[in-house]
């Protein structure tokens, strides 16, 4: 019996060997540059994932699928918008597809879930959207570089704009109750209050709240404006209900509250909303106009946060690949080029990468207007070369805890 069992075990082992060995055969030498692309095609984040895919597809189409003299093989993986999926898909891209660089993932928690793994495997990651502050601040990863923005980066200038240019004294904050909502709102609050403003109320509706009615009812009437920090479709729902309840106060917002990705679904309720962002489809430069026209031709919609984030990731990868003469196999040199690309040019203008891996870029204060029958984010002011630390000293900034629901402390809350 025992011998029979042993023989069976050995046969089984042999069978596994026979089926799996061919999969490990090595690739030929003249290879394309393999880019892994982590997106989300299923679940709540799929809308952003689709725009990300459009961004990278547009880039590769414009380059005829060639960068730095080598063909590009794009391998798209759907994480399902959850951390475990992000990790498994990253492993698949690295271990099975042997990619040279990964563009993605979409959500901050996905980026955090794979943080340790990319350090271990030394895989260059170019993040087109994940905005969590600490990814490029208190937990910087040498293999990580971002092409969009940190959460608070565009909201800090918005705080100054609200206090100095608009002259607001009192603001009520309402934002999604998760890390991105906390970080955007806190960046705004800190700079607004440092410039003499007062945040007198803070409301945190849960991400999946069915109805904003009870929150709109709680909002104070004796404020100069409302700051709305929303992501996904929540901005759309909140603004609609705010106006339906007859609240006519001015609204400030984070980049994603009136992002082009959802602006097309909004109506008059969005008019006049002032937001801070690193991009607007209405930027009046030839490169931006060309990009917007190309996106409209391909997908029939204005490009937004996710579209440009992914497109810019392509631009950065190309620039770095050129800098190492197409030798992306040399990971250390390639990553160095990704982290120190010099000046990068895309539809948002020119930008650089700081020593933590985050862009230093123009921040646009935008106002929603109706032009030619559609809503656009008209640029009303540009803050040039804004860093993720705003005007604060990076060391002091990093010594303080990361922005959250209670950081910075709210001293001006009125009961």
């Amino acid at each position: 019996m025992l011998i029979k069992s042993l023989r069976a075990a050995l046969c089984a082992a042999g069978a596994v060997a026979a089926t799996l060995l061919p999969l490990q055969s090595s690739h030929a030498q003249t290879e394309p540059i393999r880019i892994g692309f982590l997106t989300v095609r299923t679940g709540a984040l799929a809308a952003g994932g689709k725009q990300m895919e459009e961004g990278i597809q547009l880039f590769l189409k414009e380059r005829n699928n060639m960068i730095a003299g080598r063909k590009v093989e794009l391998i798209i993986a759907d994480t399902g918008g959850n951390p475990a999926g992000a990790k498994t898909k990253t492993q698949e891209l690295v271990e099975r597809n042997k990619v040279h660089v990964i563009i993605g993932p979409l959500a901050a928690f996905e980026a955090l879930a794979i943080d340790d793994y990319i350090r271990q495997t030394k895989t260059p990651i170019v993040a087109p959207s994940a905005a969590a502050e600490d990814l490029t601040q208190r937990k910087p990863n040498p293999w990580f570089v971002r092409t969009s923005t940190s959460s608070a980066q565009p909201n800090q200038p918005l705080g100054e704009y609200a206090a100095k240019t608009l002259g607001y004294k009192r603001v009520a904050i309402i934002a999604d109750d998760f890390a991105y909502g906390h970080e955007t709102a806190s960046g705004f609050q800190r700079v607004f209050e440092d410039n003499g403003g007062k945040v007198v109320q803070k409301l945190w509706p849960p991400l999946n709240v069915a109805d904003y009615g009870s929150y709109v009812g709680q909002l104070k009437g004796n404020v100069d404006a409302i700051y709305a920090g929303f992501a996904g479709a929540n901005g759309l729902r909140f603004l609609k209900q705010l106006r339906e309840y007859g609240n006519k106060l001015p609204v400030l917002g984070s980049a994603t509250t009136t992002d082009e990705g959802i602006l097309k679904q909004m109506g008059d309720e969005a008019l006049g909303v002032i937001s801070g962002s690193w991009y607007s489809a209405a930027i009046d430069t030839p490169e931006s106009k060309r990009f917007v026209a190309a996106a409209n031709k391909e997908f029939g919609a204005d490009p937004g946060y996710y579209t440009l984030g992914a497109y810019s990731s392509g631009v950065l990868v190309e620039q770095a690949a050129k800098a190492v003469n197409g030798k992306v196999e040399d990971k250390e040199a390639f990553m160095k080029a990704l982290r120190n690309p010099g000046t990068v040019k895309d539809a948002r203008g020119e930008w650089k990468v700081d020593e933590y891996g985050n862009p230093v870029q123009n921040i646009y204060i935008r106002k929603v207007e109706r032009k030619g029958g559609k809503l656009v984010n008209t640029v009303v002011k540009t803050y040039p070369n804004v860093s993720q630390f705003w005007t604060y000293e990076p060391k002091a900034f990093l010594a303080a805890p990361v922005y959250s629901r209670d950081v910075p402390p709210s001293k001006n809350i009125e009961p």
Partner: protein, 318 residues
């Protein structure tokens, strides 16, 4: 299950790392972790007839406790792992008191509610759980100084824990207690009349299901070195219930097969099929239509019919 089949399986599992690439080994580790989790749920669903939709809570809490103790107090794994198991088992003991006031749909709804409460807590109690950003910067244990960061080492670690747990679960299912438990599932009133304390039998099962879920939760957090509220979510609970039902609830091999099907569809097939969620749906539809009691009993019945020997296994037999 006969000895030769067992030997084949053991041979396959042990030989795996010597022939397969890193990616496949990691996939196998994930299947083992999911399988252990499904086995723990199977104690309730398959043997106790108590369908729970909040089982992910135990997996998640064990993972969070272990991660939190490490990050906050710098606990080593030797201290944090037993503490995490203890806390989670105690929590199961408390939740059992609440949930077992009902059975059937009532039990399902209470476990769902308790699970969602913990999910909400993980998401919004930011000072402890770090909210949506999750707990990162965790490590894997180093038993006897062996570094588990490699795919192979971790796979064997998981395999050993899995095998040990499996032995315990098999012993549990085949014990006199296991028979009584099946009795409370099929004929609770008759068992009561025979003098068995049905409530206590269910309660003890509930607690041990929580304990084994905690073990898989530790493996889960060691594997990912990251924990996020989604691990406690309804999706995770429901997916595991699907594993149990698809594989064959009330069998010992069923949940393992179910876990393999779901993990492979989710992680492997999705690389080739864009609409893999649809495929997942079709697979489950197929199972429900043609093998309503799960893949393992279904295949066994088919085998018996083809070879013309043996009788079709009854529900509840290992």
């Amino acid at each position: 299950m006969n000895r030769r089949a067992l030997a084949v399986c053991a041979g396959l599992l042990v030989a795996m790392p010597f022939v397969a690439g890193e990616y496949y080994i990691n996939l196998a580790s994930q299947i083992l972790i999911a399988a252990l989790f499904a086995l723990s749920l199977n104690l309730l669903v398959g043997y106790g007839g108590l369908t729970s939709l909040g089982h992910a809570a135990y997996m998640g809490v064990a993972a969070y406790v272990s991660g939190w103790l490490f990050l906050k107090f710098g606990f080593g794994h030797l201290a944090s792992a037993p503490l995490a198991l203890l806390v989670t088992t105690l929590m199961a003991a408390v939740f059992g008191l609440i949930a077992l006031r009902a059975s059937g749909i009532g039990f399902l709804m209470i476990t769902l509610a308790l699970g969602q409460v913990l999910w909400g807590l993980a998401f919004r109690w930011v000072t402890v759980t770090n909210g949506d950003n999750g707990l990162s910067g965790l490590t894997r244990p180093m038993p006897f100084g062996i570094d588990l960061n490699g795919a192979n080492a971790f796979y064997f670690f998981t395999l050993i824990i899995f095998a040990a747990s499996m032995v315990c679960i098999v012993a549990f299912a085949n014990s006199a207690f296991g028979s009584v438990l099946r009795g409370t599932r099929d004929q609770p009133r008759r068992m009561l009349a025979l003098g068995h304390n049905v409530w206590l039998v269910r309660y003890l099962t509930f607690i041990s299901a929580g304990f084994w879920a905690a073990v898989s939760g530790l493996l889960f957090v060691y594997y990912h070195k990251f924990i996020h509220p989604q691990a406690l979510g309804l999706t995770n609970s429901a997916e595991t219930l699907l594993m149990v039902i698809a594989g064959g609830s009330g069998t010992l091999i069923g949940p393992i097969v179910g876990a393999a099907i779901v993990v492979l569809l989710k992680n492997y097939v999705s690389a080739f099929v864009e609409r893999w969620t649809m495929l997942l749906g079709f697979v489950f539809l197929f199972i429900v239509l043609f093998m309503p009691d799960g893949v393992v009993p279904g295949v066994q019945r088919l085998w018996a019919r083809l070879t013309g020997k043996g009788r079709a296994p009854q529900r509840g037999q290992p």
